[in-house]
Symmetry: C2
Subunit: 312 residues, 2 copies
Amino acid sequence: MFFEGSEKKAEVIVNLEGKSLREIDQDFWSKLVAKCEATILSKISNEKCDAYLLSESSLFVFDDRFTILTCGQTILINSILYFLENHDRDSIAQIIFQRKNEYFSHLQKTHFLDDVKKIQEFFEGSSLRFGHMDAHHNYLFHLDKEYKPQSDDKTYELLVYHIASDVSKNLTSGKLNATEIRELLKLDQIIPGFEIDDFVFQPFGYSLNAINKDGEYLTIHVTPQEESSYVSFESSINLVEKAPIILETLRPHAFDLMTFNPQGYENSFESIPAIYQNQTLVRESISCGYNVEFAHFSKNEREVFAAYKMEI
Amino acid sequence: MFFEGSEKKAEVIVNLEGKSLREIDQDFWSKLVAKCEATILSKISNEKCDAYLLSESSLFVFDDRFTILTCGQTILINSILYFLENHDRDSIAQIIFQRKNEYFSHLQKTHFLDDVKKIQEFFEGSSLRFGHMDAHHNYLFHLDKEYKPQSDDKTYELLVYHIASDVSKNLTSGKLNATEIRELLKLDQIIPGFEIDDFVFQPFGYSLNAINKDGEYLTIHVTPQEESSYVSFESSINLVEKAPIILETLRPHAFDLMTFNPQGYENSFESIPAIYQNQTLVRESISCGYNVEFAHFSKNEREVFAAYKMEI
């Protein structure tokens, strides 16, 4: 059975005139999550954030925004619509909705363009594709509404493909507990001092939420299937800087880096080991205030392998 | 409006005990083609082959086999099933059915695995995937039935992506006639002496069938859309050798070479210009007698571009 690791993601930014999204009862978030056919597994909180671990990925609620990622066959658009139906239009400052290239898009219940049409019943917006359609790419929708992000409002997404087979086998063995997976991922080096909430799925799969008192967050989702291992990292911390640790651990064949930065682009990828070649770089300054960069890297060597035998 | 250029393909090999597939009335082939929702546009013939140009790609009928390629939203499996329903099971020597990675697989009416299940109501078979699921790949099904191809029964597929924008603009201008497109593609160098049947579609798109008296064939299908230009070549002639001419003309960013060879693999790609890097090479000796090779090449340089603005 194949599991679609590719995430859908939404960041909804609000202006509630002094009120906080975190004042909303948890029952609301449970319902919002249920709308996309996921459930809340656990929660950690600090002064800045409530971080929910979901049956399919994660939800982070801050005072002025929430970020939700869901994978598998979830219908994330339904959660966004539920939020919009329960809030004044004027309170919505911005929505950024993303879907990355999926392995089996024909098994998804909706496509990006279907989703966008539904948001456009509420707001005008723009749809972009970062990357070629026949290669790794990321669809992005944002509202056509003026928005000025804080200068430190940065987001980093690191999407890792085809991790080394020994690592993948280790992760699919079913023998590692959460502590051992944290060690394998060298989280002490990546997020020292963060509070962690994680979950090991059966037969395999791993999700992690981590937050710290500065309002930083990291979420990791591991889909270690033999023939299509995929690990995603999404964070406010600089994952371009942290990439060498992650790449050394997972030794993937390819990865994508997507960054949102109000101030400029990640001008250099000097931290990326030379064994990886940046094949495509897509840059776009989107009208809601972020410079968005999508960079696809793959190993600078020929990969030779046999055909994959499919079971019908 | 996006047009799915990615082909589905079937080669059905028969043993009619001295009879030829070419004795079958054209009405049968018209019905077979209609089953996948295409139509016959024109036909050329010689001693070895009837070559039909279709509204969506091509059909070649030889004495002991037919090869059909269809693109768009055609349901090629229905044509195969129509053939099987109208022929003795014992007369079917082999079936090789392929589908390449599609741009918008969610818009397809069936998926490869659905198709294969239908063939398996008649025959047992094996399903393989050449290439990673998140990169260019090609699905292949063949019957689990002993088959010994002739030593010269070779097939070459060259799938070309992201042709140079000046070439793509020229091809989408709507101003080129068939003769000018033949010249642009340097067909006099690729297939000297072949009889040609071609068609220029409106607003753009180009299909070509070519055959010669030795039983060789070539078919070309051009889908020159601005944001996803795609050109496919399929032939019994050695397209690895001809690739330099084609690559010099189209200057694509990436291409795939898939070869079927009963004797061995295309051991070297010495003819491929050094500007292209072979990133993945998949080799599999399939049990029906062919060594199948799938090689993905892309330009050995970083491509920098802006996001693509999607119209909803």
